[in-house]
Amino acid sequence: MKECKWTHHDVTAYLDHQLSDLKEELLKQHLKTCNHCQQLREEYDELNHLLVQLPREPVPEDLTKNIMSTIQPLANLQKASIEETNQELSWWGFLLRGIPLLVSFSMIGVITWIIYLGQKYTWQETPLLVWQSITQMWNGFWSILHLAGNKFSQFFYTTWDTAFTLPERSTGPLLSKFNLLLTKATAYQKVIELTILAVVAWIIIALITAFISSRICFDHGEERI
């Protein structure tokens, strides 16, 4: 019997057009002269046709209904999850949820501070030192607030008074008023900077704590669908 270099694999690949152009052409030429290969090609070709002819199993009538009823609880869960996510993103809920974590961080800070004082001085002195520090901080805070408030009220009063007074008291055109406003603002630059910094820092801390707490404290690591 004649032995060919071509294999079954080549013939099936040839019928599925998976051979390279060169190999396809070579096998095509070979098929013209080799009866065995030609016969095998026909058999595989017929097999392919038979495979396509096999009827499909009809889909059960209630399959769609069953699938959708299986999916429904998951869909409800997903809907609830989306609503919860939207709720999380509301500003009020977002900030409200940040408070517990902010308090927790503050408590950790205070406890660390007490331990530090207890180690540096003595444990008997610590309560007094803490009290003194709190009093100092409180007074400092109020004095800063008072100073800032005082300076701000002065600033706004004088600015308003100088820039937008009646025409007979005005000393120049609108541009000069604007320049004057800038000059006044420059005079209170440090207060403005401090205030802006404090507001920005507060917003950042509030946002970070709210974000972290909403993820850690309230989601309980639930897997989202």
């Binding site: 060919c4 079954h8 065995h36 026909e42 097999l47 495979l51 399959l63 999916i71 998951l74």
Partner: protein
Amino acid sequence: MPPSNYTYPAKKKERGRKDIATLDISQSLIDQAIQGNSESFETIVRLTQSGIYNLAFRILNNREEAQDATQEAFVKLYQALPSFRGEARFTSWFYRIATNVCLDCYRRNKKKRENTAPEYMEHLLLLLTSNGQNSNPEQIYQDKQKLLRLQKAIDELPVKYRTVIVLRHMEGFSYQEIAEIMQVPVQTVGTFLYRGKAVLLKKLNSSKEGGIRVERV
């Protein structure tokens, strides 16, 4: 070897049967389903369930199991849908999920599995009897016998060969897509196809001698 006057049946696409592989689910439909629109998801189910159910049936050879596996595949699809990035075609991507589900199911119940699905053979006989395309009774009988032998041979194939043959010849996927679905190299798809078909051919006909060198399976 068919007789010289044998007319091959028309090819799948020529007969107007729509392949699931050519089905293209629109991105907007997928997006709507991701957003939780159950009607869009139901449309996807209606469009793809036939292919998935048939794949499951061919792998598992059991209607009830095929139905369960199809449902499981759709649940997995629903859960995985938000992660679909459109890098592959939706049908290929979904078939990968479904194939994994079916193969897992097959492995779970491998020991108590029957090789043939008797109900399908009955259904096949019924279809072949009622579907008299050729008026020659002898030809009808021969065709019927061939298809029954083929069905039996397919049932006895190892599951990986069977899956590849189903994906290629019944669902109409390309080699590349089958490689993506089964997560194997394209060459392996070719090898599985050849080996599966060689076994089928061997069972359908008496073994041929000489001629083409048969590779060892």
